[in-house]
Symmetry: C3
Subunit: 115 residues, 3 copies
Amino acid sequence: MQTVFNVRTSSAGRHEFTDAVVRFVRDSGVREGLLTLFVQHTSCSLLVQENADPDVRRDPQEFFVRLVPSSEDPSMLWLTHTTEGSDDMPAHIKAALTAVSLSIPVTDGRPALGT
Amino acid sequence: MQTVFNVRTSSAGRHEFTDAVVRFVRDSGVREGLLTLFVQHTSCSLLVQENADPDVRRDPQEFFVRLVPSSEDPSMLWLTHTTEGSDDMPAHIKAALTAVSLSIPVTDGRPALGT
Amino acid sequence: MQTVFNVRTSSAGRHEFTDAVVRFVRDSGVREGLLTLFVQHTSCSLLVQENADPDVRRDPQEFFVRLVPSSEDPSMLWLTHTTEGSDDMPAHIKAALTAVSLSIPVTDGRPALGT
């Protein structure tokens, strides 16, 4: 069983869609199985993170911006592919550093994400 | 078929549990299929590595500590989420950089890990 | 259904094998399902990337060489496992930073890679 989750974004950053995924699994009626998520954008990735504290979401985002800054940053002047904007190639690289697919066990009708 | 592997750790670092996984696959009776591993901790990740030389295990660990040092390191003073200890957020970031799920083909009743 | 893709390489770098994967999926007759790729080399990883511009392939490669340089680079002198050559451990570390398995939905008889 497959579906497409459309996540609308107005800016770079983290976009939570866990609720939609949990609902899809529940509505599928599957009690035990495997849920696989895959992002179809090559400048986007999947992240499992606890969500209790907003800082927990902000800090990793900031880390990745520091590790792979905009192509306007002096440390990134070696980039050759800049025709699609200063954030395009850094976004591709960040995607390569993180996950484009994620497989999560379904247990008792829910993604077994832990707490 | 699902199971839970409990890996007890007394410190940060690499914790080998391949044997338990190989045993689970063998006992399942599956000859050809797909094994998916998923870690339920958001400060933990999965790594496939050859194990011949202990240095092979130590060096990547050291690389990640250097790339994402403790929040007490001068390079990490920008971190905002430090209430759970100086290693908590770096552990989350390292998890985002590595794999929380891993899907390995099962061939001839064993995970086809290569050599 | 399983197969092995042999990708011959004469040097480090990106090696495209999407066509062989698309052909395998088509020949399998599966219209809707899940394709899982797994690399059996611990110094190799899988990457989904658009391919329009050759720079798009070169830049991430260059980023990873800068992030994890050869063990001869002054910044990597802390490496202990160097007996298998100056590129061996950096290759292992790069593999840990990227994906060794990748699960891609199959839709309408093709890997749903996006555009």
